[in-house]
């Protein structure tokens, strides 16, 4: 099913807050081959960004296995620290079709418990078309 181009410009509701705990940071850092740590890996905000992407895909009834990550960029206003509570608000910034695939561009604003912007995450998702 092609992605509806009229989604461009639409902001989706913010995700539920994701608490940045020592346990969550350690699990993430360990998975990427580091050790137990309180230093938050710079890609850790993908957790809340991915939650926003997943909410969006569920709302649009897109099957996750047909999605490949095309591009991901973070611009940080400050480092994420243990104790933060992060939410992401996703906006669809573009939809185009190339060779049977839909390319979906998104931008997510990641905010802390006070509402201040911690980082901006832009992502491109490739929705692989073809026979299901």
């Amino acid at each position: 099913m092609p992605i509806d181009a009229s989604l461009v410009g639409r902001a989706f509701p913010p995700t539920s807050p994701v608490p940045v705990t020592t346990e969550a940071v350690t699990a993430f850092a360990t998975a990427i081959g580091g050790g137990a740590t309180d230093a938050v890996p710079p890609t850790f905000p993908i957790v809340v960004t991915f939650a926003a992407l997943q909410d969006f895909l569920a709302a649009e009834q897109v099957e996750l296995s047909r999605i490949v990550h095309g591009d991901q960029r973070f611009r940080y206003q400050r480092p994420v620290v243990v104790g933060d509570e992060l939410s992401a608000t996703l906006t669809v910034t573009g939809v185009r079709s190339i060779g049977g695939n839909d390319i979906i561009a998104t931008s997510s604003e990641i905010t802390d418990a006070t509402g201040a912007v911690v980082a901006t995450a832009t992502a491109t998702l490739v929705h692989r078309g073809g026979a299901a």
């Binding site: 699990a27 990427i32 081959g33 890609t43 993908i46 990550h69 991901q72 973070f74």
Partner: protein, 133 residues
């Protein structure tokens, strides 16, 4: 830690990714896309096999940057995922992060010019790294 002089080479760092790492990463990141776990599903959607999360590879860039800069604050980090990192059922995929120190911008932030490869194939395109160092 490497001397962060513009043009200086950064010591290449190689990391291994196993299927078990992908399972742990799926749990830690919340990304349970089956293309990172299940060979049949990955092939069914036209992929060459189980592939690493693009964000796993980008996380390795984050590790390399931390190692080179003594954990400097990262201001910008991103890349295009231009080729999949195929992770075999046995053994591991190997990702190498290499590059040079780039220029300092007007805000005093330092760019790193990186190349990220898996078995000699470029896997990240247009990588951008900006640190306060």
């Amino acid at each position: 830690m490497t001397e962060l002089t513009p043009g200086a080479a950064l010591e290449p760092l190689t990391y291994e990714i196993t299927r078990a790492d992908l399972v742990a990463y799926a749990v830690a990141s919340g990304d349970h896309n089956p293309i990172h776990q299940d060979e049949e599903i990955a092939r069914a959607v036209g992929l060459p096999g189980v592939i690493a999360h693009g964000m796993y590879t980008l996380a390795l860039v984050g590790r390399a940057v931390a190692a080179w800069t003594d954990e400097a604050e990262v201001i910008e980090l991103g890349a295009k995922f231009v080729a999949p990192v195929v992770v075999p059922a046995e053994g591991a995929a190997r990702v190498t992060v290499a590059g040079t120190v780039g220029e300092r911008n007007d805000d005093g932030l330092l760019a790193l010019a990186l190349e990220i490869t898996a078995d000699g194939t470029k896997v990240l395109g247009a990588p951008k790294v900006l640190v306060r160092a």
